[in-house]
Symmetry: C2
Subunit: 248 residues, 2 copies
């Protein structure tokens, strides 16, 4: 039996998602919990990794069990097991070949910037007090839309064989006390959202123009783009699958 | 010259407001910052203490200087000095005899309860998953209104000589994903809001009735009331002064 598990987490206390030797990661914590509660080693496979300090409103992973499980009971026990920074939103049965990484058709991220110092968002947004031209940031963001090569915004150390992504949403919005960058694509490269945000902030500061930003995309060279924005402002917010993956 | 300083803080990393020997408190941190930036020992007096782990959206304190200061510059330097969990909202000149504690006419608190596990509110609300009858909690809260003796909700160790408070607002509201208790009074006793919330939650669980709650007030005995709710859900939200305290 295969299940998809829908997880929210605050990434502050973790060395990212992916299992690492001798490091406290989200994947390790969740696999440890499943081992304790199910009594067997239960590896999980996520839609994608998140870096150290990055959060998730919705991360999806799959895992297998030899027999059908009581979904509601496992969800309840996992939420009791974890401290408050890991929350299990749901567990659903899927077809045995459904794959959390390969079947995801779309990933959405949000990046939170705060221009005013706010003591309650310390670990959940990037405090950036310099004045920003949000209109220019949105003009530049619109250049990201469509199927393009985004090598300029990928970490150099990567194991992908191409840098083509289809970005379907890229815009900044003012939401309550935050300035939020929404970006959705079929896939993302390593460090891509933080590199996009770091470069768009340079547009907002008017250090580079919208035309410069367009050229940075075309250069396919990471050194052309700006510094990565810090991880604490970044949230994986939604992962989308075709309805055909669900059993029945 | 006397100034009022308007401060927000996340109380998680501090042993409360009040100066203590060998403890990292908000008052110590702010006095240290003023000493560094002004070059002279500058004691501050707040509207009231907050306990360890309690937050403030607005805390007011006063301090004196020998000469007039550049208010905007000091605010800017203090915000640069502090990490992100202490924010200076404003500094205003007041009359030399204006007193942050004695002249405050009203204090408002908010207490945040979350019935769903939320990873992003870990240090900012009380996670309380048991079903609550909010209607009964509001019926009980309405019994708090007016001038009454609230000894039942005061810590036993206290230096006040009476327990009379005038509560002008006491109600629960649903706000986004939280259930929020709003309470306003001319003064509060030690541990009062947390004792009120703990006892109102017992009403919400239907462990005690609204009539029982009314009797608890009348008993003037702390052991009659419920346990104190944890500090992390509590925010000092507003302190009010008469306009006559401001200079000019």
């Amino acid at each position: 039996m295969r299940y998809f598990i829908d997880i929210s987490y605050k990434g502050t206390s973790y060395h990212g998602w992916q299992i690492q030797k001798n490091a406290h990661t989200l994947q390790v914590e969740i696999e440890n919990a499943l081992f304790r509660l199910l009594g067997v080693q239960t590896p999980i496979m996520a839609s994608g990794r998140t870096d150290a300090g990055v959060h998730a409103k919705q991360q999806i992973a799959h895992f297998d069990t030899a027999e059908a499980i009581d979904i509601e009971r496992l969800k309840y026990r996992l939420n009791r097991y974890f401290a408050r920074d890991i929350v299990i939103n749901s567990i659903v049965e899927v077809k045995p070949d459904a794959h959390a990484r390969f079947n995801a058709t779309e990933r959405a991220y949000e990046y939170y910037v705060n221009q005013n110092k706010n003591p309650f968002l310390q670990e959940l947004s990037y405090y950036f007090p310099k004045p920003l031209n949000v209109d220019l940031m949105n003009q530049a963001a619109s250049k990201l839309l469509g199927v393009q090569d985004f090598e300029s915004f990928s970490k150099v150390k990567t194991d992908v064989n191409n840098f083509i992504c289809n970005i379907t949403r890229a815009e900044w919005q003012i939401e309550n006390v935050s300035l939020v960058f929404h970006v959705t694509a079929n896939r993302f490269l390593r460090g891509m959202v933080r590199a996009l945000v770091g470069t768009l902030l340079e547009v907002g500061l008017e250090k580079i123009t919208v035309e410069d930003f367009k050229k940075i995309i075309e250069q396919k060279d990471r050194t052309a783009a700006g510094d990565a924005a810090p991880p604490k402002g970044l949230f994986l917010s939604k992962v989308t699958y075709p309805s055909s993956i669900y059993s029945n």
